[in-house]
């Protein structure tokens, strides 16, 4: 048993639903108890889909357990076929149905349906959502795709995009256009948008473009082995990665077409003097393995940030992320324990978080700006506008998304200069975020009110961790006042550095001098 407050991934059958819902002409018959239909709302509400997911649930109840749940499954399966007339059916069990061992795959195969029936084995008590999507897609391709003659013109499949994916809709469009510019036709994009009939034709392509290793890597490997289709290893998120991706495509396809990079504004935006303030911002990166790996490169090489920590929640990518973290000189955090991620962020005190919706909430609580780079998704991750992460436009979008939560360069200086201004003070937060005072400055108001009374121990944001963070070190009142003069977005770092410095020097009381000694010590 493992205590979980919030989870990064759903169960594996939700991964299977992401594949089924992304596709057309496929139906999923899911042996599941009443209540598991909640998963429909992920698609109809979060993604705002205008159709119900193509899933039939058996929704068995306690009274059915003593009777014939297998019969219930078969009638649900037959009804689903009669009503929806799909080209193929996938069948499986959710966590509870797995326990009653009705073997939906075996049952469905005995029914003599005139369409392919693909059984899924998704171990609910061992694996999670991404595995479920990856395995489901692989099974569909394994059952339906057969070796075929290659297309006359060089073509590729785009594999990995699913329903409920983080910006998959726009990434596919961006990369399809890029491939078109390179003179390469897309044979099949799957699972998203593909029918079982399309899947059957996947073998025609010359190679595969793997956009999302989390949900498509098993299929990419299978196709490499079975159809002699090599696949791309670079995920084109970021300007540099997109250039590398183009080179990789050229090597696979022989394309020599020039690509017009005028649309790529990110590189100049990052070099313009206005962006100087981004230099060395300390960022913590957390999400799925693929988005973390690409974000780390953008953060360091394209934004000029300092990566102070990174990690991923999907263990399948632990090795990759550990290796990358080593290159960046940081420790990798591989966990799906939300509380552990929170603790790590609190200890590192980054100036910015690049994370998921969960880290956005951690950031809100700690007063640290956060930009979202990865699933798990939220209704906000499905914007109405075109907003890819991949390709040149993706690089532009990422630049905007990441700097948006930060206090802008000149504003940062003005906050230093006019600290006492009644409207333009640091507690008001970034001027472009109306009414969003960061939690940290709010939490510290009581400390401000008590100012000047006596040497105080510093208040951490949570109000609980102060002992752990500061040990026995005491802030003298003048130093505490001086610390308040530092704008909120660097105050956490200043406090932490000063305490670290004091501890290292064996100083028990922090004076104004200690504060500035520490500042000089950590100057970069």
């Amino acid at each position: 048993m493992k205590l979980t407050v919030w989870t990064y991934e759903g169960p594996p059958h939700v991964g299977a639903m992401r594949v089924a819902t992304g596709m057309k002409g496929l139906h999923y018959v899911l042996h599941a108890p009443q209540g598991d239909t909640y998963a429909d709302l992920l698609f109809t509400m979060i993604e705002r889909r205008d159709h119900r997911p193509p899933v039939t649930y058996t929704t068995f109840q306690a009274r059915d357990l003593g009777a014939d749940t297998a019969g219930l499954f078969k009638s649900a399966c037959q009804d689903a076929y009669d009503r929806f007339q799909p080209e193929a059916i996938i069948v499986g069990a959710s966590c509870t149905a797995e326990l009653i061992q009705d073997d939906p795959g075996g049952l469905a195969q005995t029914m003599g349906l005139p369409i392919p029936v693909i059984p899924l084995e998704l171990p609910s008590y061992q694996r999670k959502e991404n595995f479920g999507a990856d395995e489901t897609f692989f099974q569909i391709v394994k059952h339906l795709a057969k070796p075929m003659e290659k297309t006359a013109r060089v073509s590729c499949n785009i594999i990995g995009p699913t329903a409920l994916g983080f910006r998959h809709r726009d990434d596919v469009q961006e990369i399809t256009n890029l491939l078109f510019e390179l003179g390469i036709e897309v044979n099949v994009t799957a699972p998203m948008g593909a029918t079982p009939g399309d899947i059957a034709k996947m073998g025609q392509a010359h190679f595969n473009v793997l956009l999302y290793p989390e949900t498509g890597e098993m299929t990419a490997r299978h196709c490499e082995k079975t159809f002699d289709q090599p696949y791309t290893k670079v995920v084109p998120i970021g300007a540099g990665a997109t250039q590398d991706f183009i080179e990789e495509i050229r090597a696979l396809s022989g394309s020599t077409v020039d690509i017009d990079t005028e649309r790529l504004r990110q590189t100049w935006w990052s070099r313009s003097v206005d962006s100087t303030y981004l230099t060395g911002k300390r960022v913590f990166i957390f999400g799925d393995g693929t988005h973390v790996k690409t974000a780390a490169r953008i953060a360091r090489d394209e934004m000029g940030f300092e990566v102070v920590g990174m990690g991923c929640y999907n263990r399948e990518f632990a090795r990759d992320v550990r290796k990358l973290a080593k290159d960046y000189g940081v420790e990798a955090l591989i966990t799906d324990d939300y509380l552990l991620v929170e603790q790590t962020i609190e200890a590192l005190q980054p100036e910015m978080i690049l994370g998921t919706q969960m880290e956005r909430h951690i950031g809100k609580r700690l007063g640290i700006p956060c930009a979202v780079i990865s699933a798990p998704v939220h209704v906000q991750d499905f914007p109405a506008r075109y907003s890819p992460q991949m390709g040149f436009e993706g690089a532009n979008v990422i630049f905007d998304t990441w700097i948006h939560p930060l206090v802008m360069g000149l504003e940062e200086h003005l906050l230093h200069m006019f600290r006492e201004d009644f409207e333009f003070h640091d507690a008001a937060g970034p001027s472009h975020h109306a009414g969003h005072a960061p939690a940290a400055s709010v939490a510290r108001q009581p400390a401000l009110a008590a100012e000047g009374l006596a040497p105080q121990t510093p208040q951490e944001c949570s109000g609980q961790k102060e002992e752990a963070a500061s040990g026995q070190i005491i802030w003298l009142a003048p130093a505490e006042r001086e610390l308040k003069k530092i704008p909120f977005f660097v105050r956490g770092k200043a406090r932490r550095n000063t305490e670290f410095y004091a501890a290292e020097k064996g100083v028990a009381e922090i004076s104004v001098d200690t504060l500035y000694e520490a500042k000089a010590h950590f100057a970069r």
Partner: protein, 430 residues
Amino acid sequence: MTELMPPQMSGGCRNAPVLKQRGQREVFCGLTGIIWLHRKMQDAFFLVVGSRTCAHLLQSAAGVMIFAEPRFGTAILEESDLAGLNDAHAELDREVETLLARRPDIRQLFLVGSCPSEVIKLDLNRAAERLTQAYAPKVRVLEYSGSGIETTFTQGEDACLAAMVPVLPKTDARNLVVVGALPDVVEDQMLSLLDGLGIDNVQVLPVRTIDADVAVGPNTVFALTQPFLGDTHAALTRRGARHLEAPFPLGEEGTTAWLSAIATEFDVSAETFEQVTKAPRRRARAAVAKAAAQLSGKSVFFFPDSQLEIPLARFLTRECDMRALEVGSPYIHDAIHGAELELLPAGPQISEGQDVDLQLDRCRAQKPDLTVCGLGLANPLEAEGLCTKWAIELVFTPVHFYEQAGDLAGLFARPLRRKGILADKGIAAA
């Protein structure tokens, strides 16, 4: 006080035939109740013993609404727990110890059973007894099932409240217990109304903290504010308490009838009743009338969701002049819904349970002006051109008693109003 119950025009629905179909049920399981119960009981923690699906459900249902430090969590069963390699009870004890160490503010812990914990027959009752002994007197540990195989959506609250009834202190005093979780502001309004009627020994269940003194005994009478509390009703009856059967306090008429049943029981004079309810009744009628202008003459179709459907249909047909086409409810208990069904004008198809595909066929064929349904169906039906109201909002929004009657009508009127305002008619959904 019979004038409070207008005569029936066309006979009610109490004896109307009920359509019962079996098929896919598009409903939440009882775990969902934790989302509001954990906000209501501020010293309680809800520990689901279940699977990743349970955790994901809670997160998905809650994720659209809140994201604070939650007072709920899931002890996720793993392969080793199922294979019998671990002693599930020892595992549970360990997780509870970690949890209570981390949250010293917790005074009540609910172990909540799920589909997998029921199927593997994990005895949470025994666990709760053991843990209660271990952590008494500081923490009380109770258990109930919120599993989908046992409960539908709001039945989770019923199961939770029913689990609390046996441990309530015994009293011989004459008291009124009002049962059902209400938002604090609404609960305060209700208590103030009852106070105005001169009823002084009033307690509510669930209480905001464990220290509040709610007791039950042979002289207790109880009133339900929610129509889904069948098991709690039975548990209280077993403790000797007597139910005051009444319509539910939704809308002006429902609230008046509900208060009237209590007033009759406590011999409140007609003058006092009139004096206390006159002003709020007038306000409620005026507020409902505003929203009702949008609703009058329109048809409504209810998919089953929370068991609030029958009282809501009664409110919409009688106070807002709507026409009900079908009223679906997950369960219908005559002892609880009977008074409501009697007031609901004959006409609509009453249905219990669901085969969602067949019900969608009926809905499409009847083309209601407004369809009340769950989150999984709302956008797809909107895309087909139907106007919908998410049923879950009716559970999460303050809608009970006089001062909310206008808001309740407004919840149904808003989708219709919005449809009228938006000038994009003919533009298909994406």
